[in-house]
Symmetry: C2
């Protein structure tokens, strides 16, 4: 398998991007292609032991900054993101991984890969899919940031793509699809949600109605469907709340002599490791891991003509490595064909660009 | 002060509603008016010791069920919610408290109290304001559920109402107003957020730009501005995440003999009280209290011509009592005039109903 990694993606690029690529190459033996300014990437690579690993560098002299917009993506044809996408488009690589500016990766995926087609029909808008981190069962949340303003037909297509993915990749037959809303009743929600509810009820999907966030955490659906703005707020609220609580819990648990004795009993030897203090047991460690974006790596971009994983800007080497793992799993599971199979007549037709 | 409490509001009505009203009457000595079917309310009231308290009952034979809609509110003129609102409208009470169906309370407030006016201008849409529970400083979140679909002018009016409230009631001069978004840059957000950003930047408000949820928890604003759908999802995601983590933390902390010894050291005597297990210290207890809706009581409905507090459907007696506390504080602080002062020309004019 051949996976392209954007060497200039993460906030602290190229350090975590290159280090993560090296870790991935070592762990799975895949061919890794790093894209970025050749001298910068090679200098960074020289800091690692890479003997026996299959890592090559493809020169991409331009870089898209975190604050730059879609226009910059259009103009910078030689940016690392765009060079990486074209390697995928031209069949020279199986997947592309970037921890860069989400909007820029998305724009480049649309320009360079295009939207996924099946016969005359094609996906109208892409969606970012990720596992929602605090739920009793695996839950796929989409869209979490690709399409902020959605129409009903977009949500329907997201649901079909998500259902195909969960059924074929996770092995859950006829997965449950729920709409994120501010109440369970059919008349709850904003205009988009109310219209989508009526539409989904008539559809062939296993639509289980509206869910509030607490039902999501309790595992009452396999797929949570929402527009990219709300999905992103939900995911970031979850991370912010967990981080706030963990921060305060740590502060409290490390204050006071008696607490220190008690904690030494709870986790012998762990007391000195304040950042790991809350990892009191394997199960708690599992919770903390699920909340750690470095563990899940990134989000899968559904609806474009190639496998693209978008990582967190704050990615460290482990997060980049795990984003590569996601990419290789997607390729192994033939995700592109799985998603293509979900496109139906009634999706967008024709050649217009938007 | 005279406060009307809906006896038929909470999911388990009339028990928590009546019990909470009794607690409030005892604590603050206010006149409490309970509205509901007289026989039901009096029977419930008879279960309490009410000697010396000023509690009266006003008969309201109809009840609006949790699943009923705006039409039911229009038709049931003698429902407890509507009778309560009219007592406020007619000057027979200072405030109304209900733990009932939010949509029904809102509809009744609009029918019976009407929207707040200042000269020819009036509020176009109401907003529910509440304190966001996980932030390093007090943060007012609005709208959290009154107006799911907003226009830019609604968000601007919410911001003016919120700023007037925070300045006059919390005593924070020139409070910071931030827009909830999926990124800090001006071009992040959905269409509404992008348009509102441009508008607020030109306004007289102390607009500090977009905030993501993590900036809210870190106290980087005094007011978080959002449409009622997104605000409700944010609040409920916060509650669901905290509840998920607390549940798992409890499960882990009570598993294993060594943990039990350690916990006994941490909180002597508390070990038997599993529900309170995490209240390891006063500060942690403060966090848990902030996350407990029973502590904050309810949300303040801004933009209607009367003081209305809407409590959580799952309210217990303590929550109802604290909702009464919020109502009396709002009356003491003359919130209605504070909010009225925020209405400017450019708000809705004329007599149309919507």
């Amino acid at each position: 398998m051949r996976i392209v990694v954007d060497a200039m993606g993460a906030d602290r690029r190229p350090e975590p991007d290159v280090a993560g690529a090296v870790l991935a190459a070592r762990e799975w033996g895949d061919q890794i292609v790093l894209v970025g300014p050749e001298d910068v990437v090679k200098a960074e690579l020289a800091r690692h032991e890479t003997a026996g690993l299959s890592i090559t560098v493809v020169h991409a002299p331009q870089t898209i900054e975190m604050h730059e917009h879609t226009d910059a993506v259009k103009q910078k044809r030689d940016a690392s993101i765009r060079v990486g996408m074209r390697l995928v488009r031209d069949g020279q690589a199986d997947a592309f991984v970037s921890a860069g500016n989400t909007a820029a990766v998305l724009a480049s995926a649309l320009f360079d890969l295009g939207r996924l087609r099946r016969g005359p029909a094609r996906v109208r808008r892409p969606a970012l899919a990720t596992i929602y981190p605090v739920a009793e069962n695996p839950v796929l949340l989409l869209d979490n940031g690709a399409t902020a303003d959605c129409r009903v037909e977009d949500l329907y297509q997201f649901a079909r793509m998500g259902a195909a993915y969960v059924e074929k990749v996770w092995g859950i037959p006829n997965p449950r699809v729920a709409l994120l809303s501010n109440g369970e009743e059919a008349d709850k929600g904003n205009m988009l949600v109310r219209d989508a509810f009526a539409f989904l009820q008539q559809s062939e999907l296993n639509f289980v109605g509206n869910v509030e966030p607490k039902e999501v955490t309790r595992g009452m659906t396999d797929i949570v469907l929402t527009d990219g703005f709300t999905g992103n707020i939900m995911l970031k609220t979850t991370e912010a709340t967990a981080s706030f609580l963990m921060r305060h819990l740590k502060r409290e648990l490390t204050a006071g002599a008696l607490n220190k004795v008690a904690l030494a009993l709870l986790v012998p030897g762990l007391l000195a490791m304040v950042p790991g203090l809350l990892l009191l047991s394997p199960a708690l460690r599992r919770i903390a891991r699920r909340l750690d974006y470095a563990e899940y790596g990134g989000a899968l971009l559904l609806g474009v003509n190639g496998v693209v994983i978008i990582g967190h800007g704050r990615s460290n080497a482990k997060a980049v490595k795990n984003a590569v793992r996601q990419a290789r799993r997607a390729v192994e599971n033939n995700v592109l064909e799985v998603i293509r199979s979900s496109i139906v007549e009634g999706s967008e037709r024709g050649e217009d660009e938007s």
